[in-house]
Every structure is written in structure tokens, then in C-alpha cells.
């Protein structure tokens, strides 16, 4: 209604009220209104974005709905309820996907509103006990896993001496798909890029950041940035949308400088696939990553790439692009806090997609892993394209 006020029509509407009432209202509209904080506004909202929130849809509980979380956050902030592990738990029932922001009349992301509270409670060492192990790993290995014995699968690494691009595989790819580093670097080379693979296992810091462990994030990010910058690469190619977002936006916010231009692999493929006449007779559907679609503002990226493949039938699911339905990867704290719910969310999405096609194309190895765990046929976009280039794609 403030817009109404700005539109001046509310002044007309106020005409019928007494002078005293009118004056105090105008003071409130002009002076006090700007002081209302966003968390309070969200706590007072009738949950207008709940249909878009994967946690809310699947968990189907008020406390973990978007405004439900904000209400609990407000009660914690105002000390109406005690700050203990049980009471703060709802703040961790979030995928940091920003899907709420798409239909929010204020464009709020609940995650953005409640992260500052997670930060405060992290400082007080109050967080769900299931996160302890993860935090220990982050502190010890600067990565959500101990990957000290994993190495990227790069055979021609030493032969490349001009490295235009640095490929940063990220934690999930290194843990579960280290062989794909080879595929990826070959794909990038075919796309006219000389590549070196970043081989130290420091993660991008996304989880530390989202948990509110900001000092830890700074420690991880600064070390990683130094190492990345030391490669003197022109481009930094990531395979995980969360890495891309963290490098591009969060590092920037924390004033951590990364010199190379940052690309998600799908963005890079989209730019350079022109010269390849790709064909495939296949029916596929897509799972858009919310980080790519919403945070990085690339809602049509996967579809744009796939549309250019002759013979490929891309069947869009009910929820795609900006309205995508995020799943829970191991790089999300909800995976660690409530694995049953993570499984349910992924199953819901998998079932939706499999009604449209047996082959799901994703733009993240975390998503690939989650769908594979459930037994769905899934390909990450770079491996899908690589298989097409090499004539390895199946026809169905």
C-alpha cells in the first residue's frame, strides 16, 4: 500500500479521516515506515511464496515455510524465545535457493533474511548438532570432505603450458566424479581453450558462508583466491553453480579478488557451441539449478543449449527456469541436518521429471549425484555435450 501512497491515491483515501488521525498517519507513512525491517515484513506475510519453496512444499509444515521461518527468526531476534539448538533449527531448513524471492512482492529471499541469525548463533556455537562433523571438516580440510587422497584425472596436464583457463572441479565432482575432469578439460580444449585443472582440494566456501561461519569462509576463500590467482589464468571455469555464484558474488561482497573471468561450464558451452553441428534423437527433460536460474539470472541456460541440438526433444517439466524446484545436494546444509527430508525433496523432483522423460539433463554434479542416488537417468550438461561430440550419445 505504500505504493498506493506514492501514487497519491492514498492521500485521497485519507480525506475522510479526522485531521489529527490524518497527520499522525502521514508522519508514520513518511518517517516510521522506512524503519520497518525486512524480517518483520516477511514474518507478517501470509506466506505468498510458499508454493515455490521446495522445503515448504515437501516438509509441508508451517515452521519451515518461508514466513514461518521468518516468524521464528523474529521471535529469536526479539528474545521472545530462547536461543537453543531446538529453537534455531528451523533456520537451517532452507536450501538457499532464493525461489521465494521470485514470487515475493518485496523480492525477499528468506535465506538472506535469516542468514544473519545463523551467523550470530554460529558465533555462539549454537547450531544443529548434525552439522558438527561438517564444520570440523571445513575447519580441518577447508573442504566439506577429506579429499586429500583424490586427484583429478588429468593425463595431459604437464603438456599444457599456456593455460588460458583454470578448471575448478569443486568438492562434489572431486569426491564422486574425479574422472570427469578429464572429459571436461578435453571438451574445453575442443572449444579452443587450453586448460589446467585446479588440483588442490579447497572448496569454494559456499557452505561456510551460508552457515554463517563467516570467519571460516574468509579463511577458506582467501587461501583459495590466492591459489587460483597464482595460475594467472584468463578464465576460471566452474562446474558447480554454487561455486560460480560464490566466486562471482560472495567473494566480491567480501572484497576477495579473483582475477580470472568466472564461468559456469554451461555458460561457456553456450558461448562456444556454435561451430558444432550436434544431433541426437532423444527425449530429455531438464532440471534447472536455482542458483543458475535465480541467483545468476540465467533461467533459460540449459534449455538454450539443448534447443540447438538437432533432433533433441526437450520436454519442460511443470517447474523450470525461474520457477524451478531445487533439490538437495551434499553441498546444502539441509542435506546434513535432515537427510530424510533431503531424500523426500529429491524424490519429489525426480518423480516429476521422470513423468516427462527418462533422461534428465542437469547443470551441476551435485544434482547429478542426487538423481543418480535415486536411480534416475541423468547427465550433467558437459558430459552430455561431450558424448554428443564423440558420437557416444544413446538414441531412444
Amino acid at each position: 500500500m505504500f505504493e498506493m501512497f506514492k501514487d497519491k491515491w492514498i492521500l485521497e483515501a485519507l480525506k475522510g479521516s479526522s485531521l489529527g488521525t490524518k497527520l499522525s498517519a502521514i508522519k508514520k507513512f513518511i518517517v516510521d515506515k522506512s524503519k520497518i525491517d525486512n524480517l518483520t515484513k516477511c514474518a507478517l506475510c501470509p506466506n505468498m511464496c510458499r508454493f515455490a519453496c521446495p522445503v515448504s512444499v515437501v516438509h509441508a509444515r508451517e515452521t519451515t515455510s518461508p514466513s514461518g521461518k521468518s516468524r521464528i527468526a523474529l521471535f529469536l531476534k526479539k528474545n521472545y524465545i530462547e536461543k537453543n539448538e531446538t529453537n534455531i533449527r528451523p533456520l537451517y531448513y532452507c536450501l538457499a535457493c532464493d525461489s521465494c524471492s521470485v514470487s515475493c512482492p518485496y523480492n525477499f529471499s528468506v535465506n538472506e533474511l535469516i542468514r544473519p541469525l545463523r551467523e550470530n548463533y554460529y558465533k555462539l556455537a549454537i547450531y544443529p548438532q548434525e552439522l558438527r562433523e561438517l564444520i570440523t571438516m571445513l575447519k580441518e580440510f577447508k573442504c566439506i570432505y577429506n579429499l586429500s587422497n583424490k586427484k583429478p584425472d588429468i593425463k595431459n596436464e604437464e603438456n599444457i603450458n599456456i593455460h588460458e583457463a583454470l578448471l575448478y572441479p569443486g568438492c562434489i565432482m572431486m569426491k564422486y566424479y574425479p574422472n570427469n575432469t578429464n572429459v571436461l578439460s578435453k571438451l574445453l580444449e575442443i572449444m579452443d581453450l587450453s586448460v589446467k585443472v585446479f588440483s588442490e582440494m579447497i572448496d569454494c566456501g559456499f557452505l561456510a558462508y551460508e552457515l554463517g561461519a563467516h570467519e571460516l569462509f574468509l579463511e577458506i576463500a582467501s587461501e583459495l583466491a590466492n591459489k587460483i590467482n597464482s595460475y594467472n589464468a584468463k578464465y576460471l571455469i566452474t562446474v558447480c553453480p554454487e561455486c560460480t555464484f560464490t566466486f562471482r558474488d560472495v567473494y566480491h561482497d567480501f572484497k576477495i579478488k579473483l582475477r580470472p573471468k568466472i564461468y559456469h561450464i554451461a555458460e561457456f558451452i553456450n558461448e562456444r557451441m556454435e561451430g558444432f553441428a550436434l544431433k541426437q534423437n532423444l527425449k530429455v527433460t531438464i532440471h534447472d539449478s536455482s542458483t543458475l536460474a535465480i541467483k545468476l539470472k540465467k533461467p533459460n541456460l540449459l534449455n538454450d543449449i539443448l534447443k540447438r541440438i538437432e533432433g533433441l526433444e526437450v520436454i519442460l517439466p511443470v517447474r523450470y527456469g525461474l520457477n524451478t524446484f531445487e533439490i538437495v545436494g551434499e553441498n546444502s546444509f539441509l542435506y546434513w541436518v535432515d537427510r530424510d527430508l533431503a531424500y523426500e525433496i529429491n524424490k519429489e523432483r525426480g518423480e516429476e521429471l521422470s513423468k516427462f522423460a527418462n533422461n534428465i539433463i542437469v547443470a551441476s554434479f551435485a544434482a547429478k549425484k542426487s538423481f543418480e542416488d535415486l536411480g534416475y537417468g541423468v547427465k550433467e550438461i558437459s558430459e552430455f555435450i561431450w558424448d554428443l561430440i564423440n558420437g557416444l550419445g544413446e538414441s531412444k
Binding site: 500500500m1 488521525t21 508514520k28 506475510c45 512444499v57 508451517e62 516468524r71 521464528i72 526479539k78 512482492p105
Partner: protein, 474 residues
Amino acid sequence: MVKEVMRKAPKRPEIVEELKKLIGSRKVSNNLTDLISYSHDYWPITFTWLLNGSLPALPDVVVFPEDARDVIQVVKFAYNNDVPLYVYGGGSGVLGGAVPEYGGIVMDIKKFREIKINDIDMYVEVGAGANGMILEEFLNRHGFTLGHFPQSLYTSTVGGWINTKAIGQFSVKYGGIEDMLLGLEVVIPPGELLEIKPNPRAAVGLDLKQLFIESEGLFGVLTKAYLKIWPYPEKRILLSYVSDNLEDALKSVREIMLSGAKPAVIRVYDKIETLKWFHMIKKAKGKVGTIIILEGDEDLIEAEKIIVNKAFKNALSTGEEPAKYWLENRFNVKEISDYLPLGIIIDTIEISVGWSKAIELYNDVINAIRSVDGTLIAFAHASHFYPQGVCFYFIFGGLPSNKSSVLDYYNDVWESVMSTVIKHGGAISHHHGIGRMRANWVEKNMGKVAYHLFKKLKQCIDDKGILNRGNMGV
């Protein structure tokens, strides 16, 4: 410490463990955060309390059933142990209908969200907890629409719609939820599943579906509904008009309603609200704007357009723009968030009345609201129409003076509006229902005999009064 403003019964912590044993601990919670979340719905006055850490009433426990068996078990338990049981959908009810006034159990029904389309018999079988927008998007993706667009579409549930007799913005064409309901499944005390199958029409004894429409959780726990669906409309036509006054606009709409044409949307704004929705039309200032949206088969809506234009022949035709603007902004709900923290209470009151008394009632209600000291704004639109009359949707906002509290101001406005509507013989609610806010006026509005019968029915179905104890005053 959170304070409870309305709780009327002692705490019963012992029921938590028993329920856990009954349906599994994963589906039962007495965490403080859950008790807080289910202590209120979207009744605006209770949000003024919430800002100060006070809540209407905490339940003793919240349950999250996953199938009809769980529901039956809980209803049996509540019945055998005389524990109040409140059903919770989206919590978007605006009158306190879901407030667990007597504590006990709140049952969140949102896990019931399966959607199955029957595209031959043209209905959807849908869980009572299904979210409106998810349902509509699912139907659209498969080429259908429900045609039900309450402003709370994004947040409310099918079960909530039926239990409050909700209506959507496209009601002139598609009707209210009562026109869409073909069948249902509901668990009634002492724990039985009642099924009403989806037939096009049935004359097989009393139509028991009616018992559950606008029953606000008093008669049973709705678990499933069968709702009519329509092919996704082929085409839309957006129209708008500016009339000299409300009377002229309503006359035009009445003509349309009597012609048999069925525009999907008709919205008539009073002079004040016209300033908002027709802000882009200079000539609308000081006049009454009407938005009309036609949708469906192309030939049919072209014919309807002729009828609409004829009915508004004395008005100024103002094109697509206002309707477009409305379509884009109709779900932007910000009022409570923007104004409540300033101490300004905002609420809406929807009522219905026959054509013959429409203008008089509109004027009297606006005057009644304005007569309450502290009122800042009072305006209205009419957005649901029938050959017999109209629903007015009043919006008021006030900043209580130093002498009165927000609650006093709020109650005074409600009292003045309700008594005005009753005096004119209108219905005190058109689609939000009764809840706790309107309970005091139900008997007067229904009539003594009808209210007595209503109470007897409640007694007959739920003899221990476990379901939504305290609601509607029954």
C-alpha cells in the same frame, strides 16, 4: 516467554507421548517453534499481538498425518480422550478459524497433496492439503484450469477452500468452490472415513457434501476432494470502463448478469479504489472503474464482448491497461507487513446483498467505518456477482487514537459493519467465513432456528465437540 491471549483450557502435555506411540514420533511435535507456528492463522488483529511476542493460543501438540489411517487414529484418540482437535491448512484464514483456542491437537493436513487428473470425466482428485498454486500450475501444464483464483491462491489449500466456502477472482464464470466440488473424503468422529464419490449430479438422499462446505473444521477432517476442471482457456479479452458513479456501474453489471453472458472477472471499484487500479487513466479520477476479463472459446467470448459493451454503452471504454495492471499486481499482498508495525490495523470485510439494497448498504457501511474514531481509510470494490446481487469487499485501516487501543478500534469497526449488514438483511460473510471474529453475529444473521439446527447438527456429528472447539460459537 511467549504469552497466550486466548487460550481457554489447561495444558495437557501427557497426550504428546501417547500420540507418538500411536502414529510415530516423526509425525508428532511439541517443539515450542511448532506450537508457535500453529497458534494463529492470518487473522490480522492477532499479528499485532505477535509483534509483541503474544500469540492467540498454543496447542499442546501438532501432528502431521501422512495418510487417512493416521487421521483416523488421531480422530479416534481425540474422541476417546476428549481432546480438542483443530485442522490446519495454509493458515490463510483471516478470522481466527484455525486458532486452537482450547489447546489440544493441531493437525496439519498439508502432506495430503497428491494430484490426479481424470481428463475424460473432467475432474481432479486432490489431497485436501494441496496448495492452490501448485494445483493450478499442474493443471495448466496438462492443459486444464480449475478456474479458482482466490487472492490467497499461493498460500491456501483445497481443504481450507472447502471449509471456508472460498471464492476466486474468476468467480463469475467458474463459480465458488461449492460449484466446483464433486465429491470428497472426510474423517468424522469417532474416527470413520466418509466418502462421497464424484458424480456429475446425484439425487441419492441428502447431498452430504453440503455439510462440509463452510463448516470450518467443525464437522470432520477433510482429506481429499474431487473438483471440476475446465480446458485451459483458448483466449482472453481484457476490457475496462469508467462510469460516473457506483450506481451506473452496478446497473451495467446487472444487465450482463441477466443476459446470460459469463465474464470470468468483473471488478467494480468505488471512487477511491478506482484511483489505485485506474491510476493510468486520467479521466477515471472521481469516477468508478470496472475491469472485465472474458476467457474461453474465442467465438463465445467475442459474443460476450458485444454484450458487455452494450451494457456499458454509457460509460467510457478505457481499454486493456487497467485489466493488465490488475492481472500483474493482483497477488502483491503487502498491507499487513507494511502497516501493522506502524500501529495501523488493516482488515477486509466481505459481505453480500441483493441488488435492491446494494447502493444503500455500500454507503451505510462506508459511513459506519468512517464513524469510528481513528479510521484512516475505508473503501470497497465489488468482485463477485450473481443475477440476484453482489458481494462488496470493504477495506479499512485505522490508527487508534490515544484514548482507544488497537483492539478496541478494531472491534468497534467490526461491530458497526456487522450490525449495518444485519440491519439491511445482507449476509455478514460472502467468502471468508466466520471463525472467531464473526462468531458473535452468526446467530443473528442466520436466524435463531437455523442456528439451533446448525448446533444440533454439530452435536449429532461430533457429540463431544472435539472438532475446532470454540469456533463459530458452536
